[in-house]
């Protein structure tokens, strides 16, 4: 079970899942909604599904979203981030409904750049049972996509979380993925910000900003904060083997 947006991450996941278990065992769900609807995204998603032999279904979530907006007493359409997060969590809810109903697992398509920057909706787009490309930076995902046969224009397509119209990931992150990924690569390897800035010939200020954003998003990447009270604690020091699905 996977969401198909027509973007590079979900296209790569479609290709990987198809290789792993055969496209006929993968259901790609298109989850359009009125505000961010683009026919070209639907076309891209269908191209990928066809190429990798995936089953698809379309579930328009506009009605669900409008019900949310109407039902929440404090709903404010001006706060587009809060509103956008409802979209990501609704997509997640529908994906999990399908998985539940059809006895499947949800395959996530978040990448390492997004995960490190906290550029995702907590319990939203990131929620999944497996997440095959979360340890690959966006620039690596683009290369992998091409290697797997994702059409080049899709592999290079600008990223958007589609939480509101014309949303651009690079615009919001304030840095090109080509630069961001190198900064994150340095941080991953314990390099200091000044070292990274010098090696990449960047302003230290930018590197510090990226680092701070990375660190401040740790709460989005971890199990819930649980006070240590008992002998072994959920999310802290139970170290059980993960069960197979």
């Amino acid at each position: 079970m996977m969401g198909l947006s027509g973007g590079v991450d979900s296209s790569t996941i479609a290709a990987l899942c198809s290789r792993a278990i055969g496209g006929d065992r993968v259901l790609g769900l298109l989850l359009p909604e009125q505000e961010t609807f683009k026919q070209s995204d639907i076309d891209d998603a269908m191209t990928v599904a066809k190429k990798f032999n995936l089953d698809t279904q379309v579930c328009d979530i506009t009605g669900i979203l409008e019900s949310f907006y109407k039902s929440i007493p404090v709903f404010d359409p001006v706060d587009k981030l809060c509103k956008g997060n409802i979209k990501a969590r609704t997509r997640m809810t529908v994906l999990y409904y399908y998985a539940n109903r059809l006895n499947r697992i949800v395959c996530g398509s978040s990448d390492k750049s997004e995960a490190m920057m906290g550029y995702f909706t907590k319990w939203g787009d990131v929620a999944a049972d497996i997440s095959p490309i979360m340890d690959l930076y966006k620039t690596q995902v683009r290369k992998l996509a091409e290697h797997l046969g994702v059409p080049r224009e899709l592999a290079l397509k600008p990223a958007t979380p589609a939480l509101w119209p014309n949303q651009s990931a690079e615009g919001e992150l304030g840095v090109k993925y080509e630069t961001l990924d190198l900064i994150l690569f340095g941080l991953e390897r314990f390099l200091g910000t000044e070292d990274i800035a010098e090696q990449l010939q960047l302003d230290n200020e930018l590197v510090v900003k990226v680092k701070e954003r990375w660190l401040s998003a740790e709460h989005k990447r971890r199990m819930l904060l649980v006070p240590k009270i008992g002998y072994r604690t959920n999310g802290q020091d139970f170290r059980l083997p993960r069960n197979d699905y």
Binding site: F190, V226, P227, K228, I229, Y231, R232, T233, Q236, D237
Partner: protein
């Protein structure tokens, strides 16, 4: 050497990854301690950086001496107070080999440092993942007495305190970052290490919550017969001032002559048995 000294058990909360703020707190508490006529101010394990800082340790660790140690040494010089505090220390010979260390400075500068010998790596603890263990006990002869150092989980191993005692320490200082679920163990062990060695034991624990882990405070001074003579609050920051009179050692040692009765020949057996667990 002084026969009577005043201690400040500076039970503080650290702000994680904020050395500047924590140094500021160490300075404020030491200044407060000076007003109270204190000779030795003791701060908790890893109080310079906070305890649960995980991978950030590589960035936060400093050499000894290094900028933070120099700053605390300057504070000791300015106030005339001896200071013991905990920090992640970077080996001068490497770039990423770390020790969980207790640093001892006095008005004349750095006296020495102790590297934690027993690194807890179970339950919520992951010290062996980051730290190399120390190999040497620490006992320093200073104008305010013969003082030994150990850190937290070391207390579960009587040999650490005993080695320091046999090296001459009469006041054992244990700095700690002990979470609340283990409070009763430390309440027992602090008394036991003091009593079995007929030594004073000053225990200073961190307080506050870090990443869901609550440190319980409860710092204390235990006398050589195992009685708690001063105790800080549980779960709150506190500055407890108390007194050590080294003349009490004679009375205690004569009444509980554990040092006289030590059987060195058993230690070979102990070593052999330990290798065969």
């Amino acid at each position: 050497m002084k026969e009577r000294i005043k201690l400040a058990l500076a039970q503080m909360t650290s702000r994680r990854e904020d050395k500047e703020e924590n140094l500021g707190k160490i300075e404020a508490l030491t200044t407060q301690a000076k007003m109270l006529g204190v000779d030795l101010a003791i701060f908790p394990e890893m109080c310079l950086t906070g305890y649960v800082v995980r991978d950030q340790l590589y960035e936060l660790a400093e050499t000894i001496p290094g900028p933070s140690v120099q700053r605390v040494a300057a504070l000791a010089k300015k106030t005339g107070i001896h200071i013991i505090f905990g920090m992640p220390a970077l080996s001068e010979k490497t770039r990423a080999t770390l020790y969980n260390s207790a640093v001892f400075v006095g008005p004349n500068g750095l006296i020495g440092a102790y590297r934690k010998m027993y690194l807890p790596t179970h339950s919520v603890f992951e010290e062996k993942r980051y730290f190399r263990p120390g190999y040497q006990p620490a006992a320093f002869s200073t104008p305010i007495g013969n003082i030994g150092l150990c850190i937290c989980y070391d207390l579960f191993f009587p040999e650490v305190a005993r080695l320091a005692r046999l090296a001459g320490a009469q006041l054992l200082v244990c700095i700690s970052a002990s979470p609340a679920v283990r409070r009763s163990y430390f309440e027992t062990l602090t008394a036991a290490r003091a009593l079995e060695n007929t030594a004073f034991l000053a225990y200073v624990n961190l307080v506050g919550v870090e990443d869901g882990l609550q440190f319980w405070g409860g710092s204390r001074l235990v006398n050589p017969t195992g009685d708690i003579v001063a105790k800080a609050k549980y779960d709150e920051e506190d500055l407890t001032v108390c007194e050590v009179d080294f003349r009490d050692l004679k009375t205690a040692e004569a009444f509980i002559p554990t040092l006289r009765d030590i059987r060195p020949e058993l230690y070979d057996q102990l070593r052999n048995a330990a290798e065969r667990i």
